[in-house]
C-alpha cells in the first residue's frame, strides 16, 4: 500500500511487529486525523451557537426583539426585558475603556517607542503580563474591600448616596483588568512603525513628542483601535469582578453611581435558581446576546489587525 523508503531501505531481520511500528499510520489517515481535529473545533463553535439558540427559544418566541428594549425584569410576573442589563453592560464597559485608555495608551507608547529594550522594558512587560494573569475573582475581592470604601468616601464628598458599590466602581475594576489587553496590541503596532518614517521626521527637526503625535500615532491608529476593541470584548464578558461590586439592581441605572447589573452578572446571580423555563430561557437569551456581541467585536478587531499586517 503506502510504501515508504523505510520499508525498502531498512533491511529487516526483525519481526513484522517492528516494521509496522516503524511505519506508523499512513499519511492519508494522519492527515484525516488532522482535518478531523480542525473540523471538530468548527463543529464545537457551531454547536455552542445552536445550543444557545435552542435553549433560549421559549424566550425568543415569547418576546421577540422587544426583549432587547424591555425595561422590566420581573420574574414574578414572567415579564423579561434586557434593557437594564444592556445599559449596565455598555455603561460599565465604555467607562472602563475610557479610564483604561488614559493608562494603556501611555504604556503602549512607553513600551513601543521610548523603552523598547532593556531592563525598564522587561520590567514593565512582566508586570503587565502579571496584571493579565490575576484571576478575576481576586480583582473582585480587591475591588470589594479596597475600592468600594474609597468610592463610598468619594460619594460622601459628592453628596451622592454612599453605597460604594455601583456602575462606577465596577468600571474602575474593569479598567484595571483590561489595561494589559488594550496595551498589548498598541505596543506591537507602535513598535512596528517603520523607522525610516520616524527618522525622516526627526531629521526635519521634529521633537520626539511631535514624531509620536504626527507620525506614529496616525500610522498605528487602526492597530490601537483594534486593541481597544479587543479590550472592550473582554470587558463586556467579565463576570465575577463585576458581580461583586456592581450592586446587583435589575433596574435602569440612573447615574454612574447607581447600582446596576450587566448581562454577565445577572446570569451569574440568577441562573441556578431560575424557576420556570421562561426565566431560564430569558437568561440564556442574554447569554446568546453576549455571545453574538463579543463575537462581532472580536472578529472586527482581528480583521483590523489582519488588514494592518497585510498592508505591510
Amino acid at each position: 500500500m503506502n510504501h515508504t523508503i523505510a520499508d525498502v531501505a531498512v533491511p529487516t531481520a526483525r519481526s513484522k511487529t517492528t516494521l509496522r511500528y516503524k511505519r506508523g499510520i499512513s499519511e492519508a489517515s494522519f492527515r484525516k486525523l488532522l482535518y478531523l481535529a480542525g473540523l471538530s473545533l468548527l463543529i464545537l463553535l457551531v454547536a455552542i451557537f445552536f445550543s444557545l439558540v435552542v435553549a433560549s427559544l421559549p424566550a425568543l418566541r415569547q418576546f421577540g426583539l422587544s426583549f432587547l428594549i424591555g425595561k422590566t425584569w420581573d420574574p414574578v410576573r414572567g415579564d423579561f426585558g434586557a434593557l437594564a442589563f444592556l445599559v449596565g453592560t455598555l455603561m460599565s464597559s465604555f467607562m472602563a475603556l475610557i479610564i483604561s485608555m488614559v493608562f494603556s495608551l501611555p504604556v503602549s507608547i512607553f513600551l513601543g517607542e521610548y523603552f523598547r529594550q532593556g531592563n525598564a522594558s522587561t520590567f514593565m512587560k512582566s508586570v503587565i503580563e502579571l496584571l493579565a494573569g490575576i484571576p478575576s475573582v481576586i480583582y473582585g475581592f480587591w475591588g470589594l474591600f479596597i475600592l468600594v470604601p474609597l468610592v463610598r468616601a468619594l460619594e460622601v464628598k459628592l453628596g451622592v448616596a454612599p453605597q460604594g458599590v455601583g456602575i462606577f466602581t465596577s468600571s474602575l475594576v474593569l479598567a484595571v483588568m483590561i489595561i494589559p489587553y488594550a496595551s498589548s496590541i498598541g505596543t506591537e503596532v507602535i513598535s512596528l512603525v517603520p523607522s525610516d518614517l520616524k527618522e525622516a521626521a526627526l531629521s526635519l527637526g521634529a521633537t520626539r513628542f511631535e514624531v509620536i503625535r504626527k507620525v506614529i500615532l496616525p500610522y498605528a491608529s487602526s492597530g490601537i483601535f483594534a486593541g481597544i476593541l479587543l479590550a472592550l470584548g473582554r470587558a463586556l464578558g467579565e463576570t465575577m469582578a463585576v458581580t461583586m461590586v456592581i450592586g446587583n439592581s435589575n433596574f435602569l441605572p440612573k447615574s454612574i453611581f447607581s447600582p446596576g447589573s450587566t448581562m454577565a452578572s445577572v446570569i451569574a446571580n440568577e441562573f441556578t435558581e431560575a424557576t420556570g423555563s421562561l426565566y431560564l430561557a430569558s437568561l440564556i437569551e442574554l447569554a446568546l446576546v453576549l455571545f453574538i456581541v463579543t463575537m462581532i467585536i472580536n472578529v472586527l478587531g482581528k480583521l483590523i489587525i489582519h488588514k494592518m499586517s497585510a498592508r505591510k
Binding site: 511500528y21 414574578v76 454612599p162 446587583n248 447600582p259 446571580n269 441556578t272 435558581e273 424557576t275
Partner: protein
C-alpha cells in the same frame, strides 16, 4: 491485537516521551476517579437551596456526618435555586423557605413534600452609628422598601422612636439579588400589611424591587448592610446576631412591639398547622408573636424512585429527615432558630412516613 498490545507496552516503557508519557500518567487518576465512584461505601446526598437555615444545616450535616458517616453536600444558593435544582432532579433535596407555587409544582411533575425543619425570624437590620435600638411599624417598613420614605430622620420614623437622634441621611435599601425564601417570607408579610406593596410588587422569591442594592444570599445582604453606613436590609436573625448587627423591634398585629427571639418566633409558629405544612406564619395573631416569622422546609419528591436512584440513597435521605426533625432539633436553639413544636414534629413525621420508593413507604 497482540501486536498492538506489545506496541502499547513498548511505547509506555520507552520512557517518558514527554507528551505521551504525560498523557498516560494523567489517565490513571481519571481511571481511579471513575473507579472510586464504585468503591466508596459512603453514601453522599446532594442538596441545595435556602441560605436562611444554612448555619443550622451546616452544623446539623457536620454532626450527622460524624455520627453516621453519610456525606451531605448542601450549597446555599437561595431557595429559588433549591426549587429549580430539585425540579431538574439534579439534587436529592432542596432547601426552601418559599412555598412552591402551582406553576413550580406543575414543572416538577410529581408531588413534592415540604418537610419543616425549624422556624426562623426575618429581621430588619440597619447600619447607623451608635447601633441604636429602633422600633418599626409595618407601614413604615413597607414604605421604606417602596422608596417612599427616603431619609432616616423622616417624621414617621422619629415619631415611633422618640429620644433617638436619627441622621439626615438617605436610607440605602438592601435586598436580595437572588431568588430567596427569605424574600418570600418578607414580601408575604409586606403584602399582608401594605395594599400598595401587594399591588406594586407582590410576594415571591424574586421580586421587581422598586429601590435598593442587591446582595447575594443572606450573607450578601448582611455583608452589604454591615459595610454600608445608612443601609437598611432584611436577613435571618442568626446573620444579624453572628455579625453583631442591630435589628429592629416590629409592631405586630396586636399592637405590641415584639423583638425577634426564639420565644416570639415559636409563638408565631404555634398556629393551626395544615397536614402538608405549607403554612405562612407572617403577621401572626399571637399577642407576643414576632410578625415576620417563617418555617423553612426541606423539599423532597414523594416518590423517590426517579432518575435511577438506588433504594439505599432514598433510605439515607429518609433517615436524615427523621434525624433532622428529632435528634437534630437540639442544635436549633444555640443557633437562635426556633425548634419545631410537638405538633409540628407530629405533622413532619406523617409526611416523612409517606415518602415511598416504588410505591412502598420507606419508613415502616
Amino acid at each position: 491485537m497482540k501486536d498492538n498490545l506489545k506496541w502499547f507496552a513498548k511505547n509506555f516503557t520507552k520512557g517518558l516521551r514527554k507528551k505521551k508519557g504525560l498523557m498516560f500518567v494523567m489517565l490513571f487518576p481519571i481511571l481511579l476517579g471513575l473507579c472510586s465512584s464504585g468503591f466508596s461505601a459512603d453514601v453522599e446526598l446532594i442538596g441545595a437551596g435556602a441560605t436562611f437555615p444554612y448555619p443550622l444545616y451546616s452544623k446539623m450535616f457536620d454532626v450527622y456526618n460524624k455520627e453516621y458517616g453519610v456525606k451531605i453536600n448542601y450549597q446555599a444558593i437561595g431557595s429559588g435555586g433549591g426549587i429549580r435544582q430539585l425540579t431538574n432532579k439534579i439534587v436529592d433535596f432542596g432547601g426552601s423557605d418559599a412555598i412552591m407555587t402551582e406553576k413550580d409544582l406543575k414543572e416538577a411533575g410529581a408531588p413534592v413534600l415540604h418537610i419543616p425543619t425549624c422556624a426562623g425570624a426575618v429581621v430588619v437590620t440597619y447600619n447607623l452609628s451608635g447601633d441604636p435600638q429602633l422600633k418599626f411599624t409595618p407601614d413604615v417598613i413597607a414604605d421604606i422598601f417602596l422608596g417612599k420614605i427616603k431619609k432616616w430622620n423622616d417624621r414617621r420614623i422619629t415619631a415611633i422612636n422618640p429620644g433617638i437622634k436619627l441622621p439626615d441621611t438617605d436610607i440605602i435599601v438592601v435586598h436580595r439579588s437572588d431568588g430567596s425564601g427569605t424574600t418570600f417570607i418578607f414580601s408575604s408579610y409586606l403584602s399582608k400589611v401594605s395594599p400598595e406593596w401587594k399591588e406594586k410588587v407582590g410576594a415571591g422569591p424574586s421580586l421587581n424591587w422598586p429601590v435598593g442594592l442587591g446582595g447575594k444570599g443572606n450573607p450578601g445582604v448582611a455583608g452589604l448592610v454591615k459595610q454600608t453606613p445608612g443601609s437598611f436590609g432584611y436577613v435571618e436573625l442568626i446573620y444579624a446576631l453572628q455579625n453583631k448587627m442591630p435589628y429592629g423591634t416590629i409592631k405586630n398585629k396586636k399592637g405590641n412591639f415584639v423583638k425577634p427571639t426564639i420565644a416570639s418566633t415559636s409563638l408565631a409558629a404555634n398556629t393551626a398547622l395544615p397536614d402538608d405544612m405549607k403554612v405562612d406564619l407572617t403577621d401572626t395573631d399571637a399577642a407576643e408573636g414576632y410578625s415576620i416569622s417563617g418555617f423553612t422546609w426541606i423539599l423532597v419528591y414523594k416518590e423517590q424512585n426517579y432518575a435511577d436512584k438506588p433504594e439505599e440513597k432514598a433510605k439515607a435521605l429518609v433517615n436524615l429527615l427523621w434525624w433532622m426533625t428529632h435528634e437534630g432539633q437540639k442544635y436549633s436553639e444555640p443557633l437562635h432558630y426556633a425548634p419545631l413544636s410537638k405538633a409540628a414534629v407530629g405533622k413532619a413525621e406523617k409526611l416523612i412516613k409517606s415518602i415511598t420508593y416504588k410505591e412502598n413507604p420507606i419508613l415502616k
